[in-house]
């Protein structure tokens, strides 16, 4: 019962605080969707040639952050900002509220809850709920632009769309990489939501025990570094189009990724909760 009260409170208060981020999610989705539609227009001559699936695949297509072969050839280090931006915004959105809520009136709510674990679990659930809403709004932004451009609103990835993504020069897809039968981005979207919710809980735990900025730095650094190598245990791989088994036969399987996410999320909540259960709480206000 107290868990439900705390979660209801967090949703009401947290939503107000996260409103700028949610607006940013819609706008960013729309901007990135527009970029993909523009690519379709330039490459194929038809803004509506890409399906919604193609647009999502293009948005989350991502080169290796540091390609040493290219660097040795004298080319600069490449970083796909369009891939990084959604995650940079996503992980920033739940940085402030949980930690701020341990001071002042928030500290009162912890004491009134009667249980540090109830408070911790409610906050963890809030992180997941906020994450779900963020992605819903982000993909709504993409879908809105796709709809307005007249794209086919199917989640399937087309061969034409794939060829344009490859020729864009930013793809890590091998030329002979084979599309899976009926490849669509539905499972890929599930992958994005699952992996980021899991990493959100890791960031939440670190931010509560250490500080917000180190927590953010740890998670973003892990995300970028885990893209360097293709491996089923590196969660960053599940966020890149070209490495997803739902789209390409050689990709990382979703079931392994989600299983890993469940384990990591559980560990983050459990370990963080244990430390939080003994943490010194100020009780007073502080200047933010």
């Amino acid at each position: 019962m107290m868990f439900a009260k705390l979660l209801a409170r967090d949703i009401r208060l947290g939503f107000v605080r996260l409103l700028p981020y949610y607006i940013g999610a819609v706008l960013l989705g729309a901007v990135l969707g527009f970029g993909a539609v523009a690519l379709s227009k330039v490459a194929i001559g038809d803004a509506a040639a890409f399906t919604l699936g193609d647009i999502v695949a293009e948005t989350f297509d991502h080169p290796v952050p540091i390609d040493w072969w290219r660097v040795m050839q004298g080319r600069p280090v490449s970083l796909s900002f369009e891939w990084v931006l959604p995650f940079a915004l996503f992980f920033a959105c739940t940085l402030d509220y949980p930690r701020q809520d341990t001071f002042g009136v928030g500290a009162k709510s912890i004491a009134l809850s009667g249980s540090r674990w109830s408070w911790w679990l409610a906050k963890s659930a809030w992180c997941v709920a906020s994450s779900l809403l963020f992605w819903a709004l982000f993909f709504f932004g993409i879908a809105f632009v796709a709809f307005m451009a007249g794209s086919n609103m199917t989640l399937e990835v087309t061969v034409e769309g794939l060829n344009v993504i490859r020729s864009d020069g930013s793809s890590i897809l091998a030329a002979d990489q084979e599309l899976g039968a009926g490849a669509n981005v539905g499972l890929f979207i599930i992958s994005i939501v699952g992996v980021t919710c899991c990493l959100q809980l890791v960031q939440f735990s670190i931010s509560m025990l250490v500080e917000r900025i180190p927590a953010y730095a740890v998670v973003m650094s892990y995300l970028l570094l885990s893209c360097m190598f293709q491996h089923v245990l590196l969660l960053g791989n599940y966020l890149i189009t070209g490495r997803h088994k739902g789209l390409f036969l050689e990709g990382v399987p979703l079931n392994v990724g989600l299983s890993e996410c469940l384990v990591v999320a559980w560990l983050a909540v459990a370990i963080g909760g244990i430390f939080f259960s003994r943490q010194l709480l100020s009780g007073g206000g502080r200047n933010e």
């Binding site: 009260k5 009136v105 009134l112 809850s113 009667g114 003994r278 709480l281 100020s282 009780g283």
Partner: protein, 231 residues
């Protein structure tokens, strides 16, 4: 009858011993005053009593149940620890509504009553960020006594209050004793504590240096406590 006992409390924070063998107790219908200068350990002791901080040694028990083992926090406790802090974008009433939702069973009329009790206007539409320091302090006190808690913890409650603050503390202390609640008030204002507390302990550098229990007619005091040998 509720009873709060602190026995042999010790705590070190960042290498500094903030509590050193502190033992106090308080029962229903009584007010315990914690007196001392800044940094004497009053706030740390209050944090330990409320469950916001767990001790390195010693224990805090509430009705025989130990904090950190049997309980995380004292049930039905109201607190004002350090400076008050609320939600900037909301009015006094809305802020207390959020707290009341967690307490349960506190009607809107009771919230308005508490706001008026501490000298604020329950119909005031100003947001918390527009409050003066005194108004913020009063709202903090209102939050601490909202829902008639069984234990009330007030840390420097008269900070930023004008002279009417003494009258407010008198009323709160009387209410605590009448309802049979436990009252713990920490303050460097010995004069205020003499008016409201049944027992006053003076703290310095994390330990208790003097105790005085209120007699029927308390003798005039100097420096807060007089005629009582140092502990």
């Amino acid at each position: 009858m509720n009873r709060l006992v602190v026995q042999g409390a010790e705590k070190t924070v960042r290498g500094i011993k903030v509590l050193d063998g502190v033992s106090v107790s308080c029962e229903s219908g009584r007010v315990l005053g914690l007196c001392g200068a800044n940094g004497s350990g009053k706030t740390m002791l209050m944090r330990a009593m409320t469950g916001l901080m767990y001790l390195d040694k010693g224990f805090v028990e509430y009705n025989g149940r130990r904090l950190g083992r049997d309980l995380d926090f004292i049930p039905r406790a109201g607190m004002l620890i350090e400076n008050p802090a609320f939600l900037d974008r909301y009015t006094a009433f809305e802020n207390l509504q959020y707290i009341a939702a967690l307490i349960g069973g506190v009607a809107d009329e009771a919230i308005r009553s508490r706001i008026a009790y501490v000298g604020l206007d329950p119909r005031d539409k100003r947001k918390y960020r527009q409050f003066s320091l005194g108004m913020k302090q009063r709202l903090g006190i209102a939050a601490a006594i909202l829902g008639n808690p069984d234990a009330v913890f007030l840390d420097e409650p008269t900070n930023a209050l004008d002279e009417s603050g003494y009258g407010l503390m008198d009323r709160i202390a009387r209410d605590i004793k009448t309802r049979g609640a436990i009252g713990i008030i920490a303050s460097h204002d010995a004069a205020m504590l003499r008016r409201v507390a049944d027992e006053i302990v003076r703290m310095e550098d994390g330990h208790i240096i003097q105790r005085q229990r209120r007699a029927v007619s308390p003798a005039p005091m100097q420096n807060g406590l007089e005629g009582v040998p140092k502990v």
